[in-house]
Symmetry: C2
Subunit: 575 residues, 2 copies
Amino acid sequence: MEKLTPHNIMVMLLSLGILLGVARTLGELAQRFHQPAVVGELLAGVLLGPTVLGTIYPELNLFLFPINGANAIALDAISNLSIVLFLMVAGIEVDLSTIWKQGKIGLKVGITSIMVPFVFAFITAWFFPTIFGKELQVNNFLFALFIATAISISALPIIAKTLMDMNLYRSDLGMVVVSAAIFNDIIGWIVFAVVLGLMENNPDGANGGNNIFLTVLLILSFAGIVLTFGRWLIHKLLPFVQAYTRWPGGELSFAIVLALLGAAFTEWIGIHAIFGAFLVGAAIGDSSHLREHTRVIIDNFVSFIFAPFFFASIGLKINFISYFDFSLVLTVLAVACIFKTVGGTLGAIWGKMSYRESSAVGFGMVSVGAMGIIVGLLALEAGIINNRLFVALVIMAIITSMMSGPAMRLILNPVKSWKLQDALFSKLFIRELKALSRREAINEMVEMVCREFSLDQDKVGYVVWKREKALSTGIGKGVALPHARIKGLAYPLVSVGISDTGIDFDAPDGKPANVIFLVLTPENAPESQLTIVSEIAKLFRNQTILQNVLKTRTFTDFLALIKSQSAPKVSDTTI
Amino acid sequence: MEKLTPHNIMVMLLSLGILLGVARTLGELAQRFHQPAVVGELLAGVLLGPTVLGTIYPELNLFLFPINGANAIALDAISNLSIVLFLMVAGIEVDLSTIWKQGKIGLKVGITSIMVPFVFAFITAWFFPTIFGKELQVNNFLFALFIATAISISALPIIAKTLMDMNLYRSDLGMVVVSAAIFNDIIGWIVFAVVLGLMENNPDGANGGNNIFLTVLLILSFAGIVLTFGRWLIHKLLPFVQAYTRWPGGELSFAIVLALLGAAFTEWIGIHAIFGAFLVGAAIGDSSHLREHTRVIIDNFVSFIFAPFFFASIGLKINFISYFDFSLVLTVLAVACIFKTVGGTLGAIWGKMSYRESSAVGFGMVSVGAMGIIVGLLALEAGIINNRLFVALVIMAIITSMMSGPAMRLILNPVKSWKLQDALFSKLFIRELKALSRREAINEMVEMVCREFSLDQDKVGYVVWKREKALSTGIGKGVALPHARIKGLAYPLVSVGISDTGIDFDAPDGKPANVIFLVLTPENAPESQLTIVSEIAKLFRNQTILQNVLKTRTFTDFLALIKSQSAPKVSDTTI
């Protein structure tokens, strides 16, 4: 049996470890600057691939990521498996019912946000193929179709994340954008599958129309069957799986086996495997029987392991600097931004939203994100676009994803939702309060906050103590929450003081406070106080957390405890 | 860049899907018959590999699992990745501190359970190599060393699972066995790594002693450093990872990246990658900072996806029937059973346990399980054993794992701990009770149970009603738990009756009961009533479960709901 040599295995594990390590590190950094993680993950591949490492230290680049031989095959196999699992998760996150719940506006935006960029990008690419850098031998029709698809697809996960960050996800406007993005996602992938089918069957116009017709028919029937009968069957089977197999292993394997088989099937009918994985994912995710725990396990493992690996591996394929073509990048970017924004905006106006909100919807739909990159990669592999256009598409996908949030923020000027974590600072942490009374504790903490952030200590101290005197803020269970709204503060500040002995804060349960949170919030953001105070109260409902807080020695320990207190959730994902 | 063709990708996804699907199905079946899942998973490979499918339909076997070319490489790559992740999880589950907590008896059993089989198997194989089917060209010393290692290693996860099934895990005897198994695991792997290092450097005695010495030194220093300094460093770094990266993605990637790099390193120094993954896993799992959620995500994904895939792929490598050698199987089995049992028993006697308990400890340590299979596979790949001996080792590993539980049960005759799930039967489920009063409800349910299980209806009805009259069993929140101990019952029976309208059971909260559990337990197993009743009460502490129960339509829906109510836990794993 042909297999990897010990050297191959060593190189494979080393390259996987390095690729994943760098991708996740840069992905975390990107998020720290409020950018999608996929930006950092792609950059990891650019750094480790031919663009940077291949230029400054080509031997190491080739040692880690050989172009030929067993290691190239191994990396490609794992990369293919990763993208299949990633698209399955993307499918699971698509909630078909949202489209119907949201009613007609979402559907209208969905239609225009895909039709407008599709039609106009098609026309542009059809009449001016050269400005997109079309190669001579490529079929004009297919090329224009592909450009139209790559530009009209939207990145649902990035859109969802952007809305969550702005606290708009559950708003009417947010749900319009999300349901439109779901519609766009499904239709976009089906259209792209058809385009891919055409490419496979008719790369140079040599094959007859029969094959094309058959492929399109197969794709549409597969999509139709999976999303109707398949969806129904999965919904019926899940309770059996849950009842008669180990929990949650049965459900986990059931989902992944189905996705692998669906992927194999679509690869077999001549379109890419990811299409099948996406559809199977959508059918599974739609079932109300799918348990949250199973979603969490699949979602976290795929988003934090397979997806970063896949996006980093894209950067390994190409030298992003030598294929960078400034005018091509500008063209692709301009076409995408203009047509996508206009498309989304028109749909919202059609749905009778105000002009301001409509333009926000338009910018909400502009993200091309990871999906555009995947579409571009497949077209590159199918030989329909060249390296220059691929690089331009990747950059366009990233920039549209980065601009969506700031543009919406500019238009809507939404109320920023502050969370506890945003307001905690290492320099506002006192591991051992000297204070013995609540007056002293408040003074000690106020003094530190005012010193570190140049606030007026007398004023701050006065309002905090006034509030405290009026009604004690000891909430029991060893926690006290002195707080005040401070004029002129730009963002909330939370100081944490710990007292092993405890300080009497006149709590209803009579217990002294061991952890004191001094919560200062801006006067013009009244809801931030409520959010943060109730977040703290919720945190301390757990009975073990107080003891664990008392065990911490540093701010990092404390932050680690607070952050990892919650159960992991789905959809705070990578893209 | 060399890569997979669309046909390769299709075959890869199809073969992964089929392999995983069959492996998980048979693994579930094995567990249903109280056997380790690994038995079913191995069988999947035997069915799909050369043994069965290759014999009856060789074309399909070769299509799915080609011996040469890109697909063979791809499968081997994923299989190698799987085993590395599996050994990482095995390492995480090793709790080093248990050894010290348990004190000297565990250590004594650990030492004898590895020394006795090692020494005696070594002597046997050294003096009678031919009865183990040694090939002429293999170095006698290495061969004997390997046989000794393969037989003295123990399968910690199977041992833990067996003890849990018997409700002995937390008993003194259980902790002795577990801590001995942990000790055995660590020492066994280090010894095996040394043997592997010797093999690599000295397959035919040509190399000098210097290399061997260097390899052994490298192995021991690596193990020492990872388990001391590495362990300390990981413990220090984890809070930073938790505090400054996304939760739980940061911790997840941190663990996997370290395992991949550790694996690459040990592969590089000439022993197998899994050794590094195991040690890194042990170092990570030992940190009290590692959060339960992260463990659950890694453990479930690896145990239910990667591990079944790996064990099934073993069956693809070899024809288990044509290499089956009855006398060899018997020899290996006899040597393993005798020396391992004796070793464990002696340690326990040395630790001053009673003879009966000591022999139970001996049988507890007999499982060779997945670890023995992995050791055998590596030796096969290193050319030190032939296919016949490999098949014999696999069979020995499985049989020792299957006999451990029954043998301990025979010796200790432990009290079986019944759980709610064991006592639920489809035929005892009434979706809509006709009854309107509690008297009628009890009669209706008692009648059905007695009819289905041929019990005396008058007697059962009398004791249940007597208990109910004495003190009503409506516990509130819509639940009632009429119950009684029944003479002559062999195992507990729980009948479930649902009433959408509700039946008055005189509950403290005044609410009528919508779900009635009739709990009948054997008179001679008094604790089973308490276990089951408190399990039900705990289940209904969750406020949403009653509504969900009322939504169920069939017994399967009901069972699915009950089973997947709990959060997934670690260590109910595959092996």
